[in-house]
Symmetry: C2
Subunit: 351 residues, 2 copies
């Protein structure tokens, strides 16, 4: 892989002596304290003086605050375009952003499986720190548990997050109105297909990288520009289909999408065809939909496309009417079909 | 066991149809939405209108706030005197209480193993709700992931918590002073030994129940009474030995305990002897130490003993001097010994 950093050499726990996580690293004794003091405090310690104690103590302004939690169980731990660590930061930052909140503080709860290589843990912890710096958030409190070999899967991470809400909008399905434009900030399905391609050995590794990325900055730019955001939703498990069906049902409104406007890259289409998957049901990790009044849509798109790397924001449809609450898809060939909520499990453990 | 509630009958997911958790319950599709809408919203939904969305939106006062996280991986899921659900609420409430914060809001992140009986999940979710009501906290946001059979262990729960700090003390090892009295709010080691007794089939099941309990209320009572609390620490993994060694090192002070004053029940002593364990290293889940000025100790003890059920608060020692930072134990027989931080892992997965 040609890593720019040698994680064996930089690991603050001596890898010769402790090549792998042991049960005692979660036991409350000397090994756990060594792990916390040397590794977690080295990675995150300058972010919070309180990390050594049971809770972080934060100074918060009065007003509305967003609070969210997510566990990450993605397999494999490292994949093209990301890893579980960066994803656990971006994902929770993105959940806060979907309320229009400015993300501030994260917690990190690790569930490690006995036998996890120490170097892997260090690599992922470094990736979390880099991701936190990129998002301007601080990892201020944490916890580590170790489960016996065969009772976990390398590592799971839970991150919870706190953000401040500085706008006065009610960003929720209840605010969606007939006529709203439905925007998406980039092409769909890359995260899920990048994971599947390495897991199934499909040979797409060269081209397909996860879209895993933080989206708080563009959302805050929309708000700063006065775009009247009605609703936001990130397109994780269940993809676009799941997110839009949730909103249609909660808002009791009918959404009409134009299939030809929905951005899906050719390599994602190809990978989906091999696996018999619908790209509109595949998870993304750096993509969201925004419902905005039609007159705000051009300005919103130009903000979302400004300086955007991997993909371009487009309008993919509009809110058409009241009942029945469903998502209709105008296909390229003419007839429209209903885009249903996925029923089963297409892609286990993609996040 | 003669459960007062029939969890099969009351389970809001039809158990005949879905007797066990499937991978699709974490997939973002219909089954996941059914689980969230019918089970989690039934249990917690009246606590937060925002639970359906990505984040909970909370109104917070300005000022100091405590933020903490903990994952729970205890085995077995149900044990004498508690279960993983109640423990996941009490444990995080207690972490907030150790900053002297008033616990307000919790998140709940579930990592379920494919095959977990639906009834078990419902039982544990109900227990979490009852525990939250007992503590006066609300579970306002959540997340569910499912991992394949053999890659988890029934269920793991992460709870993060937010509380407000209404006092102006700096409750931390840095505030500990020579002469401080070291108080403990009850007898030690029952949680760890209750878990071990069922796990090892020791036959202590009849007598030994976990001490799992919330301790925020007594801490807030101490603060309300004006007791000048210098430091608090709950006695979880690593027990009294680990907690006091952490404080001694962080404060750079020497602590002297009187062995004969440390409350350990006879049945806990007996179970520890069978397993070759030191009760001072065994985890509790409803016990904490408080460092207070000697003149405040009698008042603090009388508050802690007022209305206390399972155990009595006592003074077990004092802060004796500066270097070396260690914990000394004056034994019943006369000589004193050093109570060291546990080195290895005595009791895996007791929390």
């Amino acid at each position: 892989m040609g890593d720019p950093l040698d994680f064996t050499a930089s690991c603050p726990i001596p890898i010769q002596q402790y090549p792998r996580i042991q049960l005692a690293h979660g036991g409350g004794g000397k090994l756990m304290h060594q792990l916390v003091e040397r590794m977690f405090l080295k990675a995150f310690g300058d972010q919070s003086e309180e990390m050594r104690h049971d809770s972080a103590v934060l100074n918060m302004p009065a007003g509305r605050m967003a609070f969210t939690t997510d566990s990450y169980v993605v397999r494999p731990l490292l994949f093209p375009g990301g890893d579980i660590g960066a994803m656990s930061v971006f994902g929770t930052v993105n959940d806060l952003a979907m309320s229009g909140a400015r993300p501030l503080h994260l917690s990190a709860g690790f569930i490690l499986e006995e036998g996890l290589p120490m170097e892997t843990l260090w690599k992922i912890v470094c990736s979390m720190r880099a991701a936190a710096d990129r998002c301007g958030v601080r990892i201020v409190t944490g916890d580590t548990k170790v489960v016996d070999k065969g009772k976990g899967d390398g590592m799971f991470i839970n991150t919870s997050g706190i953000g401040v809400i500085e706008h006065s909008l009610n960003i929720s399905p209840a605010s969606v109105r007939v006529g709203d434009a439905i925007l998406v900030n980039g092409d769909l399905g890359r995260h899920g297909m990048a994971i599947m391609s390495v897991r199934e050995g499909l040979g797409f590794e060269g081209t397909l990288e996860s879209d895993s990325a933080p989206v708080a900055a563009p959302v805050l730019e929309l708000l700063a520009a006065g775009v009247e955001i009605h609703c936001l939703r990130d397109l994780t498990r269940g993809g676009l289909a799941s997110a839009l069906n949730e909103i249609a049902q909660a808002a009791n409104l009918r959404l009409l999408l134009q299939e030809k406007l929905i951005p899906v890259r050719a390599d994602v289409h190809a990978a989906c065809e091999v696996l018999g998957l619908d790209p509109l049901l595949v998870a993304c990790e750096g993509r969201f939909v925004a419902f905005v009044p039609p007159q705000d849509a051009p300005r919103a798109l130009s903000i979302l496309n400004r300086g955007q790397s991997g993909g371009s924001a487009v309008c993919i449809g509009e809110v058409r009417g009241e009942i029945p609450p469903l998502v209709a898809l105008q296909t390229v060939l003419g007839p429209s079909r209903i885009l249903d909520m996925p029923s089963g499990e297409q892609l286990p453990r993609i996040c």
